[in-house]
Every structure is written in structure tokens, then in C-alpha cells.
Subunit: 382 residues, 4 copies
């Protein structure tokens, strides 16, 4: 696909995700980890404006210099920014303003792409596409949070198709002890955190061919797993007690029947689906209760060709840390990944709301141990 | 004016206040004391539905039973409610939904008012009108906060007329020692907190004919009043330091010139206007710096016929407490005032955004000592 | 009594209060409102050193200049101070160090008092005595908190005499409408907040001859008063729910029997004692449940000769505010009372741990509405 | 050494550490991570009583059943416990009480050890010795915090010997790519977190033969490293700004000269000492500024025989996670390590206050990324 088409497709997909929203849905930020959809629309646009158009498109006229302040996410290099907790306090720029901003930048980008850009700029463009794809997924997870925490439980889309469940194979994949190569190689795009490819030594291990299902997780709940400290990290146990956690996010016990909020509204749990929207603490506690553990990210990657993955981000027992030889790019782009490499855990796989083609088996996603608003699940190892 | 007209006028004024808003402006809640405009629109409607239509209009069909949860403000008697800090997290019901709710209730109310209601119901109606007038003022002050704390400083209405300044008389009104009657009397409407009319004994006192002006308050700032603990309550001093307060709310020092945010956008300070948007702590500190004090609410009321008032709510040195013989109504209506009679101070007067005819010289407004988003000013006494 | 004897008696009483303590008891600060006993010992000494010896005793050598920082309570005029929440973090100066400091200052004071001081200094001395008497009461209430919140519930003094209960008269004192004089007059000592004496106009009222007893308060608990929002201020209701308050401070339900912690250890409740250790919120809720109210401080003072008082500080329905004509002294002494006149309520009377002769009928004590560690009780009015 | 002697030596060392303390020093807890010394004395005693005497010494009479509540640290299996933030609020049991408790338990233990215990019990005993050695180090670090945060800066011991500085070699040790064995092997004691010994694959790396010195770290400060976000993790940058961090813990700039608090009191910095009392965030920022990184715990262990270590705990770039095949013991002993394996980083080495013989090259210490009260330093790798 040429760059223009790739650009257009990426931008349109973002907007199509928002096509089900009411204006008001674009505005709110019910918790700090969720951003208002209009912010995502503006921020992804600001990214192309700031890193491509302003430095490289001669004569480009910035749309509105104040937007730098409003739509910068965390790039300290590029000036001040609205602090994250305040994003939901901003009624302006309006949704219509932001769509106008998108149009303006899109038009400039298409003009810019009339000439073949240099290799360096192409690299930045592809980073921009991948960046916007990440925000497409965040848009969907943030929208789910916004609507799923509204007391009226409005559907995002009443006809949202049910997630296709993978064929369930069973049992464990057995992997032999030895040296494995980990990390990205090849010509395609990858993030800096997937490099460098390097050797790791793994002991014998077994890794489940399947994700833990909702039915299996219900057994843990029914066995009172949320009230037995033995399965929990000390910090996880505090989290359970302080937040009175009793079930995955979006679960509601209504007249004795478990329901969960979905894009199509409140629905009865589907028992054969992979369990979803759980924290690292819950994933570990479940594994401990089963007498097993989570795989490391290396074990996961080494075995990834032997099982189906992609329906859920999977917590691993690996902290998010640099690979040997990891280096940050100079300037603002170098803030992309490295500065988050502390106190987060790696997730592997992809989820039903990951943009098509975005993930790969070397992809390293990462979140804090208490977060649940992503589509996060459990694969066991032993 | 007949009840139908009074009802319609009140309802229309509320909506006309919102006519300058973008949809997004209706949604956000930048601090806990501010409510989203759409919440005010729904809550005032819920008030008529809950206290008039549901109990007294035979055959009335509730619009949406879930709205009770969403639009109840603080009435514990009438069921659960969205906690105040969460109002700005709700994208639904949408603004259009709420206008439909208003229409539905208005139509029912007009039908209901085709017959002359009983005296009891009339009393409730008049309470509903006064309640909605209070929310009209809150709408305006909340809108100012929402737009005035947006980094783009959008105007509410570029042509918003400047506030007419009262003729400035000068000097102090002298009042003789003796017994004064305080509290409402007459046939018109008053809130329960203005009753009962009772005698108080006042010493000789003098009360300023004018409010403190912006120019006068600037002298306090320039004399470093915000950095001299001697003028402050201990609690006020903590508030100044913890919040790094250096000037009234909405003031911005831009290139060495003081500006303030107004409904028409950022503008240079007008030095002859009464100073506005200050806390009780600041009012007391200013008075102490001048070697004077604030009047009590009784001193204010006893002298209120002798000076112009109405351009600013005026902090008094009286805590908000019940008058002798105060009694609460039974049921939810009894929650209107009494339960707030602790740790708040009385303000007297009215402001430029108080609804016409809403206030009177016996009117008791009240806020916590640190709040500044209302149009609050200073009248000195000695 | 001559000044030397008065000085010595006051200082000795403070030390005798501490005679039951272990060294460790002098050190801790389990909540911010409680100060470590060793801090009280040092602070009262610092008061005489700072306000008498250093300015007025020629040739006086300061004991340790760093103590100014450690033992200043809230006097901003006299330099920096350890913030209140940190007092319990200081192991040094040790208890023995502080007793040496007391000895040193006492010796200097006795030398100083060999000559008759000027009237101004006498006034400061008497303020120092009254200041130390206030800290004697705080010492006792703070010690009760320290030991009463220790899981071992150690007695302060196993033989601590039970509080003598006042003769119970019954019924209400009726007071006629009219003008009453309020505030201190005479030659003795009073605090600045008791001045000036001034007239107030009171309606007819009745005020109970007795304090509410433990037995009466138990009826409120058993009638589920702590779970019925109708009796509570909105802020009080939040306080009850957030702190899960179910009974007065120091009460413990042990095997179905109510006990309370006393200076002699845990003991069964005495039903005929005045109820004690309740907040303003609880006092108001109880009164509302009885269909009555608390008296104002003026009603209390006007009737104070007609009932027994002194066994408990009594919450009034008066905010702590300046009397007409109130003025603060210049300098640090002026920080004694005025700067606390916001968001606190007045208590009248005295308690079983008030130092002998310290209180009087014009005395104005004051605390925040949520505090309970003082001996606070309820007198009803209607 | 026989078990009795080992027991006695361990117990005496603990008490000798406290021999420099005043009674008051045993009581306070200035921050949550620091425990009062008296708590350490009680808790180490409770450990032997709870895990040895009560289950295995026939006829043993528990000293005081309430001490279980007071001295349990975090073992959920063994009942309730005083929450960690409250340890400094307890004046009782007194220091003398706790020494009596130690005597009582010591006497029982010596009687118990008259007979040769079973292998299982021996294992528990050795765990108890190692446990008490860990608390000896914590005692010293907690005492430093308690005295070093007192405004009087009292010395722990005026004659405390200066820490002997290691001979400074220079340069980097070069390590070849390949498989290394990591984890404890042999017959001696190790903690469960050092098992199992397993293979890891390491790339070529270089690791500094020396720790970063105070002089070198000063260059980072002088180069404004604390004000340049580029060197910091995002979370570290927030930490720096929120806590206004400008230097290592215990450093004070006095009249333009850097000093630090030591066991002998405030002293000028020694430039040739390893820098100490820094957080993981600071260690990483320094390494980033030098264009290097921290070693992983595997790199450290693989090279540990090639450099001197032991003067400082050294932050590694490894999260504290289980080794392959890690299993927790059943019951309370299983709570020793596993439940802390989240959101902490591994430190290797030992410090000047680590008990003699306590550490080894496979030893895994661990702390949260913001903590600084331990003797923590930096070794660079590349």
C-alpha cells in the first residue's frame, strides 16, 4: 500500500471508531487512565503535525499554536501540556473544532505525501501510523470504560458483533530447555522496545494452548479466591481490600446472575469466552490458586507459534525492562517507550480491539499491575 | 403573574442562559463545586417531577426511573444518587435527551396547572421556582468556571454586556446601638432559613456605603498582604500557602498587567469595579489589613436600606446557623437548608448573575470559607 | 497567692500529671490533634522563656536556641516550628532533657520573680499560668487518647478516682425574653475572646438543668440514630459514614456489653454519668432526635447560674466568632485566640480534667465539629 | 558454632546495636518504611516464640497473647496485626517490657536447645537467625533515619568508626557472551528467592570494578541532572518534582558546603566514598547521564568474583521476580519472600551495616524504586 493510502486508511479507521458516539461521549474522563475520545482525535493529529509537518513541510502553517498545549500527551521535549487528570475538564476545543483540525492536517499531509519522502521521514510516518493504531485500541477501551461506567449502561453499538471465539484446543505445549532468540528481526516495523534480538536461556516449561475461560475463572471466585490472602501478592491483597474487588471489571451480579458490560450493552456472561479485564494481581492469584504460574515474556514468545493468540492481551511474569543493547532515539521520539520501563509488567498477544495487523509475536505491551480497562487475560504456564 | 406564566418564564430563562453553550460545555465538571450545565437542566426538571408531578398529578407517567438516580442532588429521602464528584463523568443522558425530558415535564406541568392547585401545592411550586432561580445563578457561575479554566479562555458571549457599576457614594453609614428586628416578614416567598423574624441587640457600628473596589484590593496585593500571616486566620493562612493563592480567582498577570476572565473573555481589570471572586479568608484578611472587620449578617440587614447592594454577594462575619425557632419541613423538602447549617458563612446581597427579583434584604446565602467561584465581594464595617 | 507560689504551683501540677507516665508515653502522637506529653512539658516552658525571660530578664542565657524550633506551637511571629503532624516523630530532646530545661527555666523565673514585675509583665505572667493550665487539660486528654488507643488498654492510674457525679436535678430552666449582658467583667483574668461585655437579645427559651446521660444517649444508639440521615447535618452524615462511627469515642462493645476506656482502664459504662467524648455532629443529631436543639453560647451564659455545670464541656450552637469590639493584642500574644475564629464551635462549661479555677461562666472553649477527644457532652435547649 | 552459641550471638548483637539509644529513640516511626527500634526487638523475639517455641516446645507458656497482635509484621497466616503505619503510635509495651520479653523467650530457647532439634526445626532456627540479621540491618538504617531526621541531628555514636573505603581499582571488567549459572548452590543457608540455580544467557557486557563515588555523583548534580527530564523515567521525574529532590537522602547544603548526616552526626561529604542513599530512579538517571546503564542482577552475579563488593547495596536493572521453579513453603514461612515479588527492584551486594556473614553473591535484596533509607549505591555497566 502506498503511503498516502496507508495514511488515509489509518485516519479513517480512527474516525469510524467514533462514528457510534454522541458528542457528549467524546468529552468525559471518568478515571485518569482513560482519555476523552476527542483528546485521542486531537492528539494523533498533533503527532503528525508536530513530528512531520512542522519540521519537514516547508511553508506549513500551524493550525493553532495553543493546541500544542492541549494535545501533547507526555512529550516533555515539546513543551508544556495539560496534565493528564485535567483532560476531561476541557469542553473546548469542541468535537467539531477537532474534526476541522484533522481535516486541515490531513489535507496538508496528503499534499506533503505527493512527493516521496526521505527514508528518515518514512520511518517517522510509519511510527505515526503505528502510534495512531495504538490510539485506535485505546479509543475503543476508553469508550468501553466511559459507557460501561455510566449508570444507564448505554450500548456503544447495539449490533456490535460478538467476539469470535478461537477454536479451543486443549492441554499444554511442552517446550524443551535451551537457548532461544527473542526480539524482532526482519524488515518490517517494530517499536524500539522489541530490539535488540538476543538470546535467552529457558528451562523446560509447559505453556497452555488456551486462555483461561470465564467458566474456569468463576470457579476461582466461587472457591472464595478473592478472600484468601495466600494467592495474592502483598500489594495485590491491599488492592483487593482497598477497592473491594470481587470480580473482573465490568462484571455485575444482577438477581444472582453474573452479567458483564459489552459494546452491545449489559449481557449475561459467556462461559466459554476467555476471561477478560483482570489485573496482573488477579492473573497471578488465579495462577497460584491453580498451582501454576504465568509464563515469562520469553517463554511466551518462544512458544507463540504453537498456539493461537490474539483474542486477549496476556499478562506475563516479566517486568517491562530494556532488552540488551536497547537505545533510545534522540529527541522527543526517544520518549516513546524507554521512560516507561519501570513498575509495569509486559503483556503479549493482542486483543479483539487491537487494530488489524498491529501486533506481532515480538510485540511488547505493558501496563501497571492494577489496571483492568484493557482486554487482559490469562495463559498459564508450569 | 399567573402560575403557568411564572412557570414558563422560569423554565425559559434557564434555557436561555444555556443558549450560548456548545454541547461539550454542558458536560464537564472541572471541580467538585461546579456541576455540569446539563446536570442543572436535568436536576431542576427532576425537582418538579419528583415533588409535584409524581405525588400530585394523577396518572402522571415518570419519564425515566433511572433519572432519579442521575439528577437527585442531595436529597437522601428520595433515594440513591450519583455522588457529586462523578457528575462530570456522565456522557449520558445526552444534552438532547435532557431537553426532551424538560419538554416532557413542562408539558405535564402545564397540564397540571390548568387547574388551580391547592395552597400546599402552590407553596411547593413557588419553592420550585425559587429553586430553579438558584440554579440559574449556579449555571452562570459554573459556566464561568468551566470556560474560565479552559486554557483557550473562550468567551461565553463576546457581546456580554459589562456589568453596570453602581453610583459610588462614599463613606460609612452610622448605625445606633439598640434592638433591631431581623428575618423575613410579609406575605411573599422566603426560604425557611430567613425565619423566624426575631430581635437582636446591636452595638453602635459603622458600615461602608460601598463595596471594596478592585483598585483598593490591588493595594492589599501590592502591600504583600498575601504573604503576611498577621492578617489571616490560621486556616486561611494554610489555604493561601497550600494553594499558592496570590490574587482573586480568574485574575491573570499577563506581561505585567492584571487581567481577569469575564463572560466576554480575558480583559484588563476594571479598577473601579467592586473586587470579586474572593474567599471568606481573603475578605477577612483584607479587612484586618485595613484595621476594620466584616459586618455581621444582622448589622448588614439592619442597615441594608441605607446603601445600594446587589452587585456582589457580600461575606459577613456570621456563621450560617438557625434563627431562633427555626424548624425544618417534614420529608425531603426539609433537607433544603437546615442540614447545611455548619461550617459555612452567611453572604448577603445578590450578584450580577442572581436572577431578577430572587434576592431580598433578608436573604441568607451561604458558602464554605474557601470558595471563590461565586461573585463574592467585601463590605467593611467598624 | 504571690506570683512565685502561683508559678511554682502551676508548674508542679503539670509535672504531677505526668507522674503516672512511662518514658515511652511521653513520646507518641497517635493523631494530629494529640501532642506528645513531652512536647507539652517543653512548650509551656518555652512560653515563659520566650515571652518573659528573653525580653525582660537582663542577662538571661537562652537554654538552647534550637528549642525555639521544636517547642513553638503556632506562633508565626516567633519563627519556624516543627509542623504539628511531626511532633510524634521526635525522639530528641529526651524526656530527661526536657525536665532539665524546665528546671533551668524555673530557676531563672524564680530569680526573676524576686523583684516585683511591672503590671504589663504581671499580665503576661498570668497569661502564662492560664496557658499552662490549658495545657494541663490537654495533657490529660492527650494521655487518655494515647493509652486508650493502645491495643493493650493500659490504665493511666489504676486507682484513678471515679468522677463525682453532680446531684441530678431534673427538668428545664425557663428563661424570659429580653436583653442579657454577655462577656467577662471584673478584675480577674480573662482571655481576649471573652471581651467585650455586650448586650444580646434572647427570645424565651428553656435550657435543661442536666446534661444528657449515658443511658439517654444509649437510647439514641438503640433507636438506630447513627443510621438515620434525618438527624444529621450533611457534613456530619458524611463524617459518620466515612469513619463508620457507631458510638462515642472510647466505647467498645465487648461480648454484647458496652465498655469505655477510662483513666483506670476499660470499664463497663456507667449509665447515670453524662455522656462524653462526642462530636458536635453527634450532639446535634441527638438533639434533633429528641426534637430539641443545643443552646447558643449566649443562652448558656445567661442561664449558667441556674444549673450546675463543670463536669463536661458542652457543645453550643454558636460558632466561634469575635465579640463586638474584639481586638487582638499586638505581636505574638495576639495570635492566641483571634486567628482560630473560623469553622469552630463554642463549648461552655468545664470538664473533670479542667484545672481547678481555670474556667468561668464567660469562658469560651472551641473545637472543630468532628473532634471528640475532649470531655464533650450535651445540654439540651428548646 | 553450635546452635546455642549462634542463637546467643545473634540475639546479643541485636541488643548491642541498641546500646547507644535513649529510651525515646526506641519509640518513634517518622515514616512508614521505618519501624520503631522497640518493634524490631519485639518482632524478632515473637518470630522465635511463634515459629519455634509455641509449636515445638512442649509446655511452653506464651509470654503475652496480646503481643502476637503487636509484633506480627506481615504474616497474615498468624492472625491480625497492628497496621504498619501505626507502629509508632504505641507507647506500650515499654522498652523495659520488651527486654523482659526477650529474656523470657531467650531463656526458653536455651532450654529448648539443650536437646538437639530435628533437621526441620534446625532449618527454622537458621531462618530465624537470618531473619534477625536482616532486622539488625534494618535497626541500623531505621535508627539513622530517626536521628537523621531529628532537627537536632543527634549522633548515634560520636565515636562511630568511619566506614573503611575499599581499595579503588579502576576501569571495567569485560565479560564474554554465553551461558552462566545463576542462583544459590551448596549446603549453607540461602533464602528461597535465591533458588533454583539455573542457566541464563548473557550478551557481552562490561561492568565497572568500582561503585560511583560521591565526587562523581556531585558532577551529575552540578550538571543540573535533577532538572533535566531526559535522564529520568516518567515515574521518576514525577517523584523528583513532587518531592523536590535535589540530592541524595541525608545531604544538606550548609553555607554552600555539602554535608551529610552520619552515625557520628553531621559531617562534610567525603568525596572518595561511594555515593549512598539514592533511589533506583536516581541510580538510573545518573547512569543515563553517563550514557551507560545499571547491570542486571545476572550480570552482577556472573561477574561478582571479579570486583570488590559489600560496601553498598547496588541497584540492578532487574525486577524482583521468581527464579524458574521457585516455590513457596507452606504456611506462614511461605510468606517470607514470594508475596513481595512485584513492583520492586533487586539490589545485590551488602552494605556497611549488613550483619557479618549475612550476605553472599547470590543474595537478592529488594526495594521499591523510590526508597532511599538503605545504604544504596550505583555500579555502572555497558
Amino acid at each position: 500500500m502506498n503511503l498516502k493510502d496507508r495514511y488515509l486508511n489509518t485516519r479513517k479507521l480512527t474516525e469510524s471508531i467514533c462514528s457510534h458516539l454522541q458528542t457528549e461521549d467524546y468529552v468525559v474522563q471518568p478515571v485518569v487512565d482513560v482519555s476523552p475520545p476527542k483528546w485521542h482525535l486531537g492528539h494523533t493529529t498533533w503527532f503528525f503535525e508536530t513530528f512531520i509537518l512542522k519540521p519537514y513541510f516547508m511553508g506549513y502553517q500551524e493550525y493553532n499554536s495553543e493546541f500544542n498545549y492541549v494535545f501533547n500527551s507526555y512529550y516533555e521535549t515539546v513543551g508544556n501540556r495539560v496534565i493528564r487528570t485535567d483532560r476531561g475538564n476541557l469542553s473546548r476545543p469542541t468535537v467539531a473544532d477537532i474534526y476541522r483540525y484533522r481535516e486541515y492536517v490531513d489535507e496538508a499531509m496528503l499534499n506533503f505525501l505527493c512527493e516521496e519522502p526521505s527514508a528518515d521521514i518514512k520511518e517517522l510516518l510509519v511510527l505515526g501510523f503505528n502510534h495512531e493504531e495504538q490510539h485506535q485500541e485505546l479509543l475503543l477501551t476508553d469508550i468501553k470504560y466511559i459507557l460501561g461506567h455510566n449508570p444507564l449502561f448505554p450500548a456503544y453499538n447495539k449490533n456490535h458483533p460478538a467476539h469470535k471465539i478461537e477454536e479451543t484446543t486443549t492441554g499444554f505445549v511442552t517446550m524443551p530447555e535451551g537457548i532461544y532468540e527473542i526480539g524482532f528481526e526482519g524488515n518490517g516495523f517494530c517499536f524500539d522496545n522489541e530490539l535488540n534480538r538476543h538470546k535467552v536461556y529457558l528451562n523446560n516449561y509447559e505453556i497452555s494452548a488456551n486462555l483461561v475461560s470465564t467458566a474456569e475463572y468463576l470457579e476461582f471466585i466461587e472457591a472464595d479466591g478473592y478472600h484468601d490472602f495466600r494467592y495474592w501478592h502483598a500489594e495485590g491483597w491491599d488492592w483487593v481490600k482497598n477497592n473491594k474487588v470481587e470480580a473482573p471489571l465490568y462484571w455485575h451480579l444482577i438477581d444472582g446472575e453474573w452479567h458483564h458490560y459489552t459494546y452491545a450493552g449489559l449481557q449475561p456472561l459467556k462461559l466459554n469466552e476467555p476471561v477478560c479485564h483482570i489485573s496482573y494481581f488477579e492473573a497471578c492469584a488465579y495462577a497460584a490458586w491453580k498451582g501454576m504460574r504465568l509464563p515469562t515474556e520469553f517463554e511466551w514468545e518462544a512458544a507463540a507459534d504453537k498456539f493461537n493468540w490474539g483474542s486477549r492481551w496476556e499478562w506475563t511474569e516479566s517486568a517491562y525492562l530494556p532488552y540488551p543493547g536497547f537505545t533510545k532515539a534522540a529527541g522527543a521520539i526517544g520518549e516513546y517507550n524507554g521512560k516507561f520501563m519501570v513498575n509495569q509488567m509486559v503483556l503479549r498477544g493482542a486483543s479483539e480491539v487491537t487494530s488489524p495487523g498491529h501486533s506481532r509475536k515480538t510485540y511488547r505491551n505493558f501496563f501497571q499491575t492494577n489496571l483492568r480497562w484493557q482486554f487482559t487475560g490469562i495463559r498459564l504456564a508450569k
